[in-house]
């Protein structure tokens, strides 16, 4: 118990902070912060597996998040029959062509000696392949995008419950990580960082501009929910009764029957959105707890010890007969898959998929701040990092607003500098994050909750 005191203390403080937001601002804000904290926690767990367990640097988190989001769209949206009839055949042909191309390249790689001729012929094959694929796909894509472009204009998905996409998102992200890992994992750390960052940008470019698959920057809205809709709740009897019961004290003060009914309606509207958010919190909490148990088990298993050995001394681990390349690839895939789950969860919560909103600041670098601040190598630390950093990211604006007003209290409202500062309040969050990261790296390089390895 004693040795876990700092963990318990840190989490209690975090919970109190969120509760304070609930009491002083509103429960709606508190819950939406809490939900995004949970999603961030899943992302940090993924990054932490790669960085903390194995020392692999992955700046491509944004790409895996977006793939998870794409999975949510492809799973939950109903298929657009008309689009399939119009261009489905061309698209399937293309898929075949890609598979054939990959197989041919594999065949060449396997059966011919390494030579200049081989390299050039593979390059020529890829270029002609791309041209052929473009020529085959072009008419199909045009037809698909012409099908009712205001609402569909894409192939749609499978029409399954969106929850399944959490698993599919993990598979997508893991698949991409397999390719990236095969290609890039041999690079030195900072090159790996740049390579993964750029590959994630390529992924985003594809998701943004292949309208037939994702609707691109036109966004997909109104995804199905795993939770009830507010509008339905507001007309359901048991929910209204529940709200009445909860607020009976408040309501009994009002004498006028009409006023009481109006107050109740207001409470029901507020309550319904809180209830929906609570549903999401429950779902996300389940995911976080399952992942936490799995990652903790993995950390203290022989496999976890091997990963740490590889991280701390690659050559020695190699000499002991551990397959470093294979383990690196495995952990790269596992971590990315977890990030993919988080991506699907994020889209599930928002109910919309906006490829334009995937930006490296928010989805890659912020997650890294979380991992570093929380404590790399420690799962509890990573989750805490997700909570703390997301909380500050949201609450930075009110905090800095308060500070600005506090320090410039004597200056009149019309002062140009004060007005300018108040106008630029949203950007103080970047300052806060940057300073936080720099201070933690300087004075507590292992994070708030440092990695702790017990030898039992």
């Amino acid at each position: 118990m004693r040795k876990n005191l700092n963990v318990i203390a840190a989490y209690s403080i975090m919970m109190i902070l969120i509760l304070m937001v609930g009491i002083f601002q509103s429960w709606n804000i508190a819950l939406s912060i809490f939900n995004l904290c949970l999603i961030s926690a899943v992302m940090t767990m993924g990054a932490n597996i790669q960085w903390g367990y194995a020392g692999l640097i992955n700046f491509g988190i944004m790409g895996y998040t977006a793939l998870g989001g794409l999975a949510a769209v492809l799973i939950s949206v109903d298929p657009v029959q008309e689009a399939w009839r119009a261009g489905g055949f061309d698209i399937l042909m293309c898929l075949w062509l890609i598979i054939v191309m990959v197989l041919v390249i594999r065949f060449i790689l396997k059966n011919f000696e390494k030579s200049k001729l081989r390299t050039y012929s593979i390059a020529a094959l890829i270029i002609t392949g791309i041209i052929i694929i473009r020529v085959t796909a072009e008419p199909g894509i045009e037809k698909i995008e012409a099908v009712n472009p205001a609402t569909t204009g894409f192939l749609g998905g499978f029409g399954l419950p969106i929850i399944f996409s959490w698993i599919v998102g993990a598979l997508f992200a893991g698949g991409l990580a397999f390719i990236v890992g095969k290609v890039a994992l041999g690079l030195r750390a900072d090159y790996l960082a740049i390579a993964t960052l750029l590959i994630s940008e390529i992924v985003i470019a594809i998701i943004k501009h292949e309208d037939w698959l994702t609707r691109g920057v036109k966004n997909v809205i109104g995804l199905k929910r795993p939770a009830p809709y507010e509008v339905d709740l507001q007309t359901t009897d048991w929910f209204i009764n529940l709200v009445e019961k909860f607020n009976s004290g408040k309501l009994s003060v009002i004498d006028n029957l009409a006023d009481r009914q109006a107050a109740l309606n207001q409470l029901v509207i507020e309550g319904s959105s809180v209830f929906v958010k609570l549903c999401y919190s429950g779902l996300f909490l389940v995911v976080v707890i399952i992942l936490l148990i799995l990652t903790q088990k993995a950390l203290y298993s022989p496999w976890g010890r091997m990963m740490r050995a590889i991280r701390d001394n690659e050559e020695a681990a190699n000499a002991m007969g551990k397959n470093v390349v294979k383990q690196h690839l495995l952990i790269f895939i596992l971590g990315s898959a977890i990030v993919g789950i988080a991506g699907a969860m994020l889209v599930t919560q928002d109910g919309l998929f906006t490829p334009g909103s995937y930006r490296p600041m928010r989805y890659t670098f912020l997650i890294w701040v979380m991992v570093i601040v929380g404590g790399s190598g420690n799962n509890f630390g990573a989750i805490l990092g997700g909570f703390v950093v997301w909380f500050l990211w949201i609450e930075a604006a009110p905090i800095s607003m308060f500070l600005i007003n506090f320090f410039t209290a004597g200056i009149p409202e019309t002062n140009a500098i004060k007005a300018h500062l108040i106008e630029s309040v949203p950007y103080f969050r970047f300052l806060l994050m940057g300073l936080g990261l720099l201070f933690i790296m300087r004075y507590r390089p292992k994070g708030i909750l440092p990695e702790k390895i017990e030898i039992k």
Binding site: I57, E201, L437
Partner: protein
């Protein structure tokens, strides 16, 4: 005549824009490569440092404009650049003193430096946005075109017009001057040579009495000059928006690595490699083929290898390919 038209078309839509964009990238790439070669880390704050320098220059430009000072046909920003550079260098030295110096003395691994530079990136972004705001700004004044497309058509009687913007000429001219000065400095002066020695082998350089503090100082000064001028040229040619500058970091990294990181000349060429391949691969050649092919063979489609949406993706793919097959870059930089 058709042949000349085709050449003019390529000049107008591919060669000149690519040369301009390449010059802007090249300056940034030399900045990245110098920091990497001498201070030994990948600076993720590159784009934001450039936007800081540009912001400083814009502030001085506004000041000069309010005073009524101008350079006539040339943009006022050229007058403000030296002041912008001074602010930029001061900012960089401040950051170095409070942030990077500690890790340099600790001899931290490059990854840690990269992480720290992300912290610097956040802070710099905040500073720029707080001071000047995140919106799109144009600060170009003076004469916009040297040759207008219409005038060119009238002058030569060709179908295709050649438009030459003054920012393009300024960019290319300034880049040539700056880069030749830089190479002269690196190859001919004592300080430049000692910088090279320090980059090659730190311990040997220290043994032979090179002062590391001076090397670091000179590196930041050169970096400040490159970052500010590169940023201002980009801003003059297109526009200044902090977010775009952050994004520009990626092709700049690509240029530096393609050229062989740590090798300034490679970075210079890498800028053009990236710029030309981006534009060559995403240009629609339909009109070009209409000019040079006989009428019966004219293409129906756009004859475009990749849609322009994938401009960035092209440079990143080149980088990934180079990283995999030739990690030291096309022009041999530091071996990994």
């Amino acid at each position: 005549m058709d042949f000349v038209n085709a050449i003019i078309l390529l000049l107008n839509y591919i060669f000149i824009p690519a040369l301009t964009y390449g010059s802007q990238l090249a300056l940034g790439a030399i900045f990245v490569t110098l920091i990497y070669g001498i201070l030994r880390f990948a600076n993720f704050a590159t784009g934001d440092m450039m936007s800081f320098g540009t912001m400083a220059t814009i502030l001085f430009t506004w000041y000069f404009q309010s005073l009524g000072v101008s350079l006539g046909v040339l943009p006022t920003a050229l007058l403000a650049i030296p002041f912008g550079i001074i602010l930029m260098i001061l900012y960089m030295l401040l950051i170095d003193k409070f942030v990077f110096k500690y890790y340099r003395h600790q001899k931290s691994p490059p990854v840690q430096f990269a992480m720290v530079s992300i912290g610097v990136m956040f802070v710099t972004q905040a500073v720029v946005r707080i001071i000047i705001g995140p919106s799109d700004r144009r600060f170009f004044d003076g004469e916009k075109f040297i040759i207008k497309a219409r005038e060119f058509k009238e002058m030569t009687g060709l179908n295709e017009g050649l438009a030459l913007k003054s920012t393009q000429v300024i960019t290319i001219f300034v880049t040539i001057v700056l880069v030749s000065l830089l190479f002269w400095f690196l190859n001919r002066t004592k300080t430049g040579k000692s910088m090279k020695a320090y980059s090659d082998n730190e311990d040997l350089a220290l043994l032979s009495g090179i002062d590391p503090k001076k090397i670091v100082l000179v590196t930041w000064v050169i970096a400040g000059i490159l970052a500010t001028i590169g940023g201002v040229l980009y801003g003059l040619d297109k526009s200044f928006k902090p977010f775009t500058y952050f994004n520009n970091m990626l092709p700049i990294f690509a240029a530096a690595i393609v050229g062989g990181i740590g090798n300034p000349f490679g970075a210079f060429l890498g800028g053009y490699v990236i710029a030309f391949s981006e534009i060559l691969l995403t240009y629609a050649y339909k009109k070009f083929f209409i000019y040079i092919l006989p009428e019966s063979m004219e293409p129906n489609s756009l004859v475009q290898l990749l849609s322009t949406d994938y401009k960035f993706a092209v440079s990143f793919s080149i980088l990934v390919i180079v990283l995999i097959y030739r990690p030291s870059g096309i022009f041999k930089g530091k071996v990994l």
